[in-house]
Amino acid sequence: MIDIAGVLAANFLYVILITLGGVLVSGSVHFVPVGGAPAAMAQATGIGTGTVQLAAGAGLTGLVTAGAMLNLTDSIALILAAGMVGAMIMIGVTMIIGNLVYIYGVGVPPASAKVDYDPITKDRQDIYVSQGTEGHGLPTVSFVSGIIGGGLGGIGGALVYYSLMSIANGMASADFIGLAAIFAVGIFFVNAVIPSYNIGGTIEGFHDPKFKKWPKAVVTSLIVTFMCAIVSVITIGGL
């Protein structure tokens, strides 16, 4: 039988770090301009797919880049930076290609329906919003917000993975990497879905009024990730 109390006491720092990583992922989703199905038809501002797909795409890229860096160094700063940059590149490319499609394919100007003036460029927004839509494309503020979200999500994912990989255990390295990776993916998905219910599926970025709801998702994620962290630390530490 596993010495549950001993494993937890030895690795309590990692339980905290995993929880923090999950909370970062949950908060980061609020920054990402998710448009859902309406945006796929250029009828809402944001990227035309759901939160979970975007978070999975950016977050898992962050996990891959963080994992690659973990092969080379033990420095937590470098690993988190690798995860952050990986996720930022992935979400940035997604948004650029999305905007290319919206502008040159669909033929709509990027415009936000939630604010009259872009808070960053001060450009007028409301006169460019087509009638009957909630905006379209990705205006500058949404793009910047998305990059911030990708960065935070990447740090969160990398932090979860780094913490799991730091737990002392008796497994062969291939088994250990597989187990830590699937735990990180599971925790990541849970924390990507919770904020998506919080924002009701769509958000434009940090200028969207729905952004103010973030504490609710963060508290929920804090409790849920803490449970998942204890369970995963006991599993890995006990083997």
């Binding site: 797909q53 999975a56 993916v185 599926g201 599993t235």
Partner: protein
């Protein structure tokens, strides 16, 4: 955006309690039966684990159908990914510490995590879905049994040392994650709408479960403890029967089914 929200509970011909019994009891019994039959009668019986996974998948998609009928505010796929996210964490924990009781430990752990998420979704996030707690508990349990069942079909056992080297380290766990999640989320996602019927949705669940079973069979070809042929053949048979049944339901529910013929050869002919 509200995907498929009819704003109320879904009508059901088969009561949910029967589906819970079918999924939970059927899933656990099949997983244990598979384990003991492989131990005492040979690896050919590993397919029973996949049958357990199908029971769990049908139960899970019935639960998804009930909760998503209220309108989640976002796409139905999110809840399938949540189910498998909770499920995979609970499965690893349960199998690692549980030994022979592994599937039961995993099942109970998943339901506790699901209950907490369901309660927080209503209390803190304020989703206001009355069956949220119950449905999240069911979905997490179903996701876990689907993972354990498919792992058992792949390796012939749910003992963690074997599952760790043959399913997790090889990366097939990612296949289980997506195939199992897809099987739970897709039935309602494909059939939602005002004319959605429980039997049609559940026949899709059987069909998706059969596809996951066939995949598990292909993977088990490289495993010493499980044999591929029975899993693939039985999976194909279940797929054929359930897909035919699904098609019958579609024809039954459609106003009319007509052939459009082939595309016209030239643009002018269509005028």
């Amino acid at each position: 955006m509200s995907a498929g929200g009819s704003g109320g509970g879904a009508s059901e011909a088969i009561p949910q309690n029967k589906l819970i019994a079918f999924g939970a009891a059927g899933g656990l019994i099949a997983i244990y039966l598979s384990y003991f039959m492989v131990q005492f009668a040979g690896p050919a019986f590993s397919f029973i684990g996949a049958l357990g996974a199908i029971c769990a998948i049908v139960w899970g998609s019935a639960a998804v159908r009930r909760v998503a009928s209220y309108g989640l505010g976002t796409g139905v796929p999110s809840i399938g990914m949540l189910a498998l996210g909770m499920g995979v964490v609970a499965t690893m924990f349960g199998l690692a510490i549980g030994g022979i009781a592994g599937p039961i430990v995993a099942f109970v752990t998943a339901m506790v995590i699901g209950l907490v998420i369901g309660a927080l979704a209503n209390r803190i996030i304020g989703m206001g879905i009355p069956i949220m707690e119950q449905s999240m508990t069911e979905i997490a349990g179903a996701g876990t049994l689907a993972i354990v069942g498919l792992s058992t079909a792949m390796t012939g056992t749910f003992m963690f040392d074997v599952v760790l080297t043959e399913v997790i380290a090889t990366g097939y766990i990612a296949l289980i994650f997506i195939a199992g999640g897809m099987a739970i989320l897709h039935p309602f996602n494909a059939n939602l709408g005002p004319d959605e019927k429980q039997d049609r949705t559940l026949s899709t669940a059987f069909e998706k479960g059969a596809i996951a079973m066939i995949m598990a069979g292909i993977v088990s070809a490289v495993s010493a403890g499980a044999s591929a042929a029975p899993t693939i053949v039985i999976g194909l048979a279940i797929w054929y029967v359930s897909f035919s049944q699904y098609r019958n339901y579609v024809v039954r529910d459609a106003y009319d089914v007509v052939g459009t013929g082939l595309l016209p050869k030239e643009e002018e002919e269509s005028e």
